[in-house]
């Protein structure tokens, strides 16, 4: 075997529950390769998720795992990280989980710059509940709660978290397995809140009402529509319409929250009467 994924997977949990062709499985593999690349001990990794198809991921991982409530993974993760700063904390979210109901925790985690890596499995739809519109669904796309085509302008997750203060922000697609692996590695190495927006495919529900329908075709679209940031920067806005710009958008050093707490507040408090 070229890569021993099973080393990180809980025995007896495969096959997973995802549909044929669901991109979540592809991203999961990229995540595992990234973890392997960082040579981390499974005991030191905590993986937390909310609710949704993507959020079923932690259950498969042989690590410290927690499957919380819809949208709230970052809040639980904040508690875990602050309670045990030596844990490497990864949050796995669907786009709905992270940016719809979970939007507030997203921007606040970004603001605090707490050392959590957030992976958004962004398939532009609510998979788990059957294809309702998400805050990431493109204008005009069909969804079970957008019978006449979506009129809600989608978030640009990258700009959203950047505006909220995130110190590491990147984007890739499930098709770009190597880039995903690399970006996750860099995100996990970054000290502070790091977000990777991973454009992903839900053939079952996004595909049901939109074209293309097949998983492999959806991956092809990811491939064809992607433009690396360096190239995109040289293009005009019109040329970037509908494109997926990939790469690292933000990477900056700022005090990390857990660190500041333990190294500033506690000493100050202990010093004062």
């Amino acid at each position: 075997m070229a890569f021993e994924y099973e080393k990180y997977i809980r025995k007896g949990t495969l096959p997973h529950i995802w549909c044929p062709g669901c991109g979540h499985g592809i991203v999961m593999k990229s995540l595992l390769r990234a973890i392997e690349g960082l040579k981390l001990d499974k005991n030191d990794i905590a993986v937390i998720s909310g609710i949704g198809c993507a959020s079923r991921l932690p259950g498969y991982l042989d690590m410290n795992t927690l499957h919380t409530t819809h949208g709230r993974a970052l809040a639980f993760a904040t508690g875990i990280k602050l309670a045990n700063p030596k844990l490497k904390v990864i949050v796995v979210s669907g786009d709905g989980d992270a940016s719809a109901i979970g939007g507030n925790h997203l921007i606040h985690a970004a603001r605090r710059n707490i050392d959590i890596t957030l992976l958004i499995f962004n398939n532009s739809i609510y998979g788990m509940t059957g294809g309702q519109v998400a805050p990431t669904t493109p204008i005009g796309a069909y969804a079970s709660t957008m019978t006449y085509g979506n009129i809600d302008p989608p978030f640009d997750i990258v700009r959203l978290v950047e505006g909220a203060g995130a110190t590491f922000v990147a984007r890739t697609t499930s098709y770009h397995t190597a880039q995903t692996e690399q970006l996750i590695k860099q995100a996990m190495t970054h000290k502070g809140f790091a977000v990777v927006d991973i454009i992903d495919a839900c053939p079952t529900y996004f595909g049901r009402k939109n074209a293309p329908k097949e998983a492999y075709d959806m991956m092809q679209v990811q491939k064809d529509n992607s433009i690396p940031l360096q190239i995109a920067q040289k293009k005009k806005p019109e040329e970037l319409q509908g494109k997926i710009i990939t790469g690292i958008f933000v990477k900056k050093e700022m005090p990390e929250y857990t660190d500041t707490y333990y190294n500033t507040i506690i000493p100050k408090a202990m010093g004062s009467k």
């Binding site: 995802w18 044929p20 788990m128 079952t204």
Partner: protein
């Protein structure tokens, strides 16, 4: 037929059991009868255990699920255990897919049949997913719980455009299968 007819279609997610149940219930309505259709499925999008139940009556339907099965269809191995254990009547039909079910549960009651729905779907029609419609044909052929016209009309009303002929053929295949055991 004064008593309710209680039918359970079981198998796993992706086999079109819910659609089949809905079609059967619609057919009952077309015949001017009353029907209640219900289902269970898990969160897995594929492979999870699943069932669809239809109760058909000329009067009111009090309990809307199968309380005392008249017919149980089993299209997959996982469904065998849980969905056949409440068969209490000797004249209840228990119909297994002969292709997908390998180990058959030991049953104390019921008239047991094993029919090649999946194989028929695959070999004769070239579409494995059509086994549900074939099974519907067999059920109606066997029990006359709804009229043949009604089931045909109901199938045509609910299947995707362009697949009408295929589905009609599937139904007929089901009726043929019913004849083999009647």
């Amino acid at each position: 037929m004064e008593k309710n007819i209680e039918i359970r279609l079981s198998g796993e997610g992706g086999q079109g059991l819910i659609l089949a149940g809905v079609i059967l219930a619609s057919a009952a309505l077309i015949d001017g009868k009353n029907a209640a259709q219900s289902q269970y499925y898990g969160p897995e999008s594929r492979g999870g255990i699943s069932k669809s139940e239809v109760v058909i009556s000329t009067g009111d339907i009090i309990y809307p699920e199968v309380a005392d099965p008249d017919l149980v269809l089993v299209l997959s191995q996982v469904a065998c255990g849980p969905y056949t254990k409440d068969i209490r009547r000797d004249d209840a039909y228990v119909i297994f897919d002969a292709n997908t079910v390998k180990e058959f549960p030991k049953l104390e009651h019921g008239r047991i049949y094993k029919l090649p729905f999946t194989m028929t779907a695959h070999d004769k029609l070239g579409k494995p997913f059509i086994a549900n419609i074939i099974a519907l044909g067999t059920i109606v052929g066997l029990t006359n719980v709804v009229s043949r016209e009604a089931i045909e009309q109901a199938v045509l009303a609910r299947v995707p455009k362009g697949t009408e002929e295929l589905n009609k053929t599937a139904l007929s295949e089901g009726f043929e299968l019913a004849k083999t055991i009647k």
